[in-house]
């Protein structure tokens, strides 16, 4: 039965420690350069000096993002071989046996979810730990977080449990792919398309 799964991220308490990123890498034995979950460090604001004092309006938060399980998965739409497809239980995933490694899904996905693996020459991505789901367990990242800011479940259920949004900086507008993600905004949250905000750890994602 197809379900619409989703992640919930409380960015107001995310410290950017990246335990989620590495828990996933360990479970899936990922190479360096392949990040199924990525943690973005956002900043905006500046400094002014008045007399001997520094005044600052610095704002910052982290966003942990893996795969948004979009209701309208553009990656599957553009994939020439159909390797990117929705499984029986509704998870968009890559069938490595068909993938030709053309990276078109990488161009099309506004969330950076498809990750190319140099070693095998195919695209890879977060698979919501489908094997754990079938055993009734949470995806690895959820239970790894030391701050307990990640949750997971069916989108409808999460929406009842939490309030949140599905677009903010650095994510694009949600209407393109309708990502199934619920994000509790940090007090410093910046809007989608904010021109003054920056991802400052780009080399790490």
């Amino acid at each position: 039965m197809k379900k619409q799964y989703a992640f919930y991220i409380d960015t107001s308490r995310c410290s950017g420690c990246k335990t989620c990123q590495v828990a996933c890498k360990d479970k899936n034995n990922l190479d360096i350069g392949v990040l199924w979950r990525r943690v973005y460090e956002i900043e905006s604001g500046g400094w002014t000096k008045r007399g001997g004092a520094w005044f600052n309006g610095m704002k910052s938060y982290h966003l942990s993002l893996s795969f948004n399980h979009c209701e309208n998965p553009v990656c599957a739409e553009v994939c020439p071989t159909g390797a990117m497809h929705k499984t029986k239980i509704g998870i968009v995933t890559v069938d490595a046996r068909k993938c030709i490694g053309c990276k078109y899904c990488e161009w099309a996905c506004p969330y950076g979810a498809p990750q190319y693996d140099e070693g095998t020459g195919v695209m890879t991505k977060c698979d919501l730990c489908e094997d754990y789901l079938q055993d009734g367990k949470n995806p690895s990242c959820v239970d790894a977080c030391p701050m307990r800011v990640i949750d997971f479940g069916e989108l409808q259920v999460l929406r009842k449990k939490y309030s949140g949004q599905d677009e903010l900086y650095p994510l694009p507008e949600a209407h393109h792919t309708r990502p199934a993600i619920l994000i509790k905004p940090h007090k410093h949250v910046m809007k989608t398309g904010d021109t003054l905000a920056r991802i400052i750890n780009e080399e790490e994602v």
Partner: protein, 277 residues
């Protein structure tokens, strides 16, 4: 950069399609290629180019061995469609090439085949352009991409075909050259227009603009200068009222245009910036 194979693939495919279409139109309109001997050189050459293009496209794949699946998602993927139509075009071109080598030579019935193959080629180029028109890549996501791909197709295709036009057809050559001139001028304007459009875009569009104009300024401006030079080269014989007719002239023209288009295509891929994260 894994995009070198894409640069070569797209340019070569566009040359093959463009030259074939222009040759077909010239053949049908003015019967230019009465002497099939020219076709015996042109068609195999284009076939070679098309096959080389297809082969090169494999190089940008991480897992080329799975390429058999690549037309699976014809229903929604422009890439699937492009692969299908390029393959059909190449297949059709191969068939036509074989046929023209038969003792009977060119038959009137081959006209229809040539038209069909041309249409396949046009649809292939259209699909090719559509691949890049993704909402997530602002620098590519406009009709300019479509226009520029077709310009490349006609300009390079036409310039290549011009090399093969028999010397006697002075007027036809003149028409060719005039059309080429117009197209080159138009392509300069389109190129500049696309760049200006980027300036009004968001963060990603601005980044793409930066890549083009700041980080690759030599190539960017050099390309425009080269194209302008080509215009002058075309115009010069005009002023002397002497039509260019030597093969070496047309070869030189083609080479310059090729360089300009390769540079342009390089910039096209280099300016890729995806929105979102």
């Amino acid at each position: 950069m894994h995009e070198w194979s894409l640069i070569v693939f797209t340019i070569l495919t566009q040359i093959a399609v463009g030259a074939f279409v222009v040759a077909t139109i010239a053949q049908l309109a003015k019967g230019i290629f009465h002497g099939e001997k020219v076709l015996h050189t042109l068609y195999p050459l284009l076939l070679l180019v098309a096959v080389a293009a297809l082969t090169t496209s494999f190089l940008h794949l991480g897992s080329p061995l799975n390429a058999w699946y690549a037309m699976n998602n014809f229903g929604s993927s422009w890439l699937s469609r492009e692969i299908l139509f390029v393959s059909l075009f190449t297949g059709g071109l191969a068939l036509l090439t074989v046929l023209t080598f038969r003792p009977a030579g060119w038959r009137r019935s081959y006209k229809l085949l040539a038209i069909a193959i041309s249409l396949l080629g046009v649809v292939a180029i259209f699909s090719m352009a559509k691949i890049y028109m993704l909402p997530t890549v602002p620098v590519w996501n406009s009709t300019f991409t479509l226009v520029q791909f077709f310009f490349t197709t006609i300009i390079l295709g036409g310039a290549l075909t011009a090399i093969f036009i028999p010397a006697v057809n002075k007027t036809e050559k003149a028409i060719f050259v005039n059309l080429l001139l117009v197209l080159v001028l138009a392509s300069i304007m389109v190129w500049v227009g696309n760049t200006l459009l980027l300036a009004e875009g968001g963060l990603s569009a601005t980044k793409s603009l930066q890549v083009l104009v700041a980080e690759n300024s030599v190539l960017f401006y050099g390309r425009i200068v080269l194209l302008a030079f080509v215009v002058m080269v075309i115009l010069l014989p005009w002023f002397r009222r002497k039509m260019p007719e030597t093969i070496s002239f047309f070869t030189m023209l083609f080479v310059m245009l090729l360089i300009a288009e390769v540079a342009g295509r390089y910039l096209f891929y280099a300016s890729y910036v995806r929105t979102g994260v």
